[in-house]
Symmetry: C2
Subunit: 474 residues, 2 copies
């Protein structure tokens, strides 16, 4: 790992982002357009995110399963808006087993169509409802402007798919899963988010209603973290999915899908929390929560033994701990590297510390250092990790609020949008003609809020029907 | 679920297999050639297998990561034998993002090539070795004769890939991971296996040496469970992967890959343990270890409450327990269904049982029933599950031994091979000309053993160089 400084995070956020991804060994460029290789440090982060959310998905009554990667092209075409939305991004298998296929297969960009095809066979009676499944997999959407984690031709995600007897129940499901995503973001990733609905033009291809949760990166760019869709009966009609309801009549179920956790979340973590020294990883999901660096120690000596003992004691209480035993690096180089990699806590231990039964504990977030009795570590470390989580969330929230502007008219905030990115809360009449005027600023309506602070539309000045958040998407 | 009887497992094993997969809701046909949908019950089985092995993969020093699904066609062609082996099975993406690609991409049939391309960039010095990574993903190999779990065009697996400074270390790694697979099979899936080397004609395309572990289904067909390969330097040369060794010289690392856990293992579980009443799932990885069926009980009454209490107590000690609260099915129908699904233990509880503070406990394996005090369940259930594991392993081993024949000459066992499948242990001169004679019987050399019981080759009668196991593969 080279010791060259990272680009200035304030001046060149975009370059800083690109460099830290590779320097921290989260990912590497792949020899396939728009794709990355997710390296062990990045993948462990994803596994930790997955573990948290998967437990919640199961606790809320969903079951995991696995649907095919390749989908007949005709399936994608069944729901008219769906094919319109996804067509430009598809990767298509035309040959297999040495022959040209009779019908091309698309590499799944999302799995609604094939899952609904199966739902149509499984759902016959109201007793089969609700049907609630989820899969963890990767999907492919061809990207011309890729960026590691934030936008890649292949990415990993979960996609939940459910069918319900009533509209109300489906709506409740779509909302509930959005709440689970917010819980993940705020309570585990320490990322404050804004939740709202997408506009007609921004919603999922084929959905009735799309909920989104959005965060903002340190350069003021908006980032869609994930979405939850009320598909209602559109896809059910396309796939002839009918069930006999309790009254004995045939009816179409109401569907949802929700794809709120993707490897993009790793990009959000990098972009929301990072600083000039590198990553700052949320303590609850950091692959390494504590790194122990020995000072002036040798394999097997007293310091070495004590470090291993501390590691074992922390692991016993569920703290992911590593001991940096490399003998060709000086402590300073190790400090630099683990700071770059955003490890929440670093313990330093040398002969003098051992004499005093203490270690030096350094916090990544505020770069503070203090001495701590070894005996106290098993209580102090979990407390410090929790505190660091709270501080990270508060700091991120402070940054979000600092870039949150409330402005009445496009003519007023147009100039600002050009200069400063950030959030612009305003009112909207819901007319697409007004929404399209944001194109000049390369901005979009990120979401519609339930609040009603603004009385008039930002563009046409007619009465506002919904507050909205406007921003420039990454 | 229909109550129609399963085909006779002794007379029509193949039909029995096909029906039980669908009836037990492990999987369903997918609308894509050779593919299946793995339903929640089947997928939970896979997740449980994965959890066991993933912990061992990490404990033995490997790290998970994620490489792209799509691989440039030219990569597959770099290692001559590799492309020769995989070419007929490839699914090829020729179009993406609405355009014809300059170079086609293949959907990974296995990831050696793209991983070695990355290894070549990461491995520069002996300090970077060993490099030990693994990924859990799905791969595609176009199948003309698919069979659920046993042979599908897409299947899920893990693939481990490592690079080492020396041949000896790589050999040790390939052997160690094979031992992990044997541990998984025998100690978790209750499947006795035979371990050996593949012949030159059967080894992995591009490998120096392939270890395999094989099981035998109840109809006497051989099933390759998984393999571990010593690739040595072939791929390293193809991908120009060089490192500076401790002496300061440039050298090629020695590589391994091991792909021993695939969704085929679910097929093995079905085929090795099933009986006339359906699945018999290994207790340690069964998605549902205990099913509680209430008798003459109603929502919220005393029996119902007690059943939920028993469920909670069993879950507290880590037993996966379900309570069958469906009110439109009679107990008999529930018994039938859970037997079909192979749940190891069934608890029945009704008003009379409650009076006596007992339940009826029924074991899937031997269809025995007994009364047990509720108070004793938390000790009796884990003990019964362990016992059932041991009994299943012993029973499967007994069946394996019963179909294990030792015969000297092809002329002698040729007739038998035609009539009875099973294992035929004999001697072999290592000559491919002799191996090819097995084609008449649709049999293959499953593996070479380390034993030396046989002195002459089964075909040419020249001195044997290795004992072999011959069988008919599924």
């Amino acid at each position: 790992m080279s010791n060259q400084k990272l680009p200035d995070i304030k001046q060149n956020f975009s370059e800083w982002y690109n460099e830290i991804v590779f320097k921290a060994e989260l990912a590497d460029h792949a020899p396939v357009r728009g794709c990355i290789v997710i390296r062990p440090y990045g993948w462990q982060l994803w596994e930790n995110i997955k573990t948290v959310l998967d437990a919640r998905i199961k606790a809320t009554g969903h079951q995991n399963c696995s649907f095919p990667l390749l989908i007949p092209e005709s399936f994608i075409k069944r729901e008219a808006k769906h094919i319109e939305g996804f067509s430009p991004e598809l990767a298509v298998v035309t040959h297999a087993g040495g022959k040209k296929l009779e019908e091309p297969l698309v590499v799944r960009p999302t799995s609604e169509t094939i899952i609904h095809y199966m739902f149509a066979q499984w759902i016959k009676s109201w007793r089969d409802l609700p049907m609630k499944v989820n899969q963890w997999c990767s999907v492919v959407r061809w990207e011309m402007r890729a960026r590691p984690f934030l936008r890649t031709s292949e990415f990993n995600w979960q996609e939940g798919h459910t069918a319900h007897a009533t509209y109300e129940e489906a709506l409740l499901e779509a909302k509930m899963m959005m709440q689970e995503y917010v819980n993940l973001a705020q309570n585990y990733l320490a990322i404050p988010v804004i939740v709202g609905r997408k506009s007609e033009s921004e919603k999922f291809a084929g959905a009735d209603l799309t909920y989104t949760y959005e965060s903002f990166m340190q350069d003021g760019k908006a980032l869609q973290m994930g979405t939850s869709h009320l598909l209602s009966q559109n896809f059910a009609v396309s796939f002839d999915m009918k069930f006999q309801n309790q009254a004995g009549e045939m009816a179409y179920p109401h569907l949802t899908s929700w794809c709120g956790a993707t490897t993009r979340l790793i990009g959000a973590i990098i972009a929301v929390h990072g600083d000039q020294n590198g990553l700052v990883l949320p303590p609850k999901i950091a692959p390494v929560q504590v790194i122990i660096v020995p000072i002036a120690a040798k394999l097997g000596d007293a310091v070495w033994q004590k470090a291993l003992e501390i590691k074992a004691n922390l692991e016993k209480i569920g703290i992911s701990t590593q001991f940096d035993e490399r003998d060709h690096l000086r402590p300073g180089a190790k400090f630099y590297e683990w700071e770059l990699k955003g490890v929440p806590l670093r313990l330093e231990i040398g002969p003098k510390d051992l004499e005093q039964n203490q270690v030096v504990i350094a916090e990544r977030l505020n770069s503070t250092k203090e001495n701590l009795l070894i005996h106290d570590l098993v209580t102090a470390v979990p407390a410090k990790l929790q505190l660091m989580h709270d501080q990270m969330f508060a700091a991120a929230k402070g940054r979000l609020q600092a870039m949150w502007h409330k402005i009445d008219k496009l003519s007023e905030f147009g100039n600002q949008l050009e200069e400063n990115a950030g959030l612009y809360q305003t009112g909207w009449c819901l007319d697409g003609e007004c929404e399209i005027k944001l194109k000049t600023y390369k901005a979009t309506i990120r979401c519609l809020l339930d609040t009603g602070e603004f009385k008039n539309c930002f563009a046409c000045d007619k009465p506002s029907k919904s507050d909205v958040i406007i921003g420039k998407a990454y």
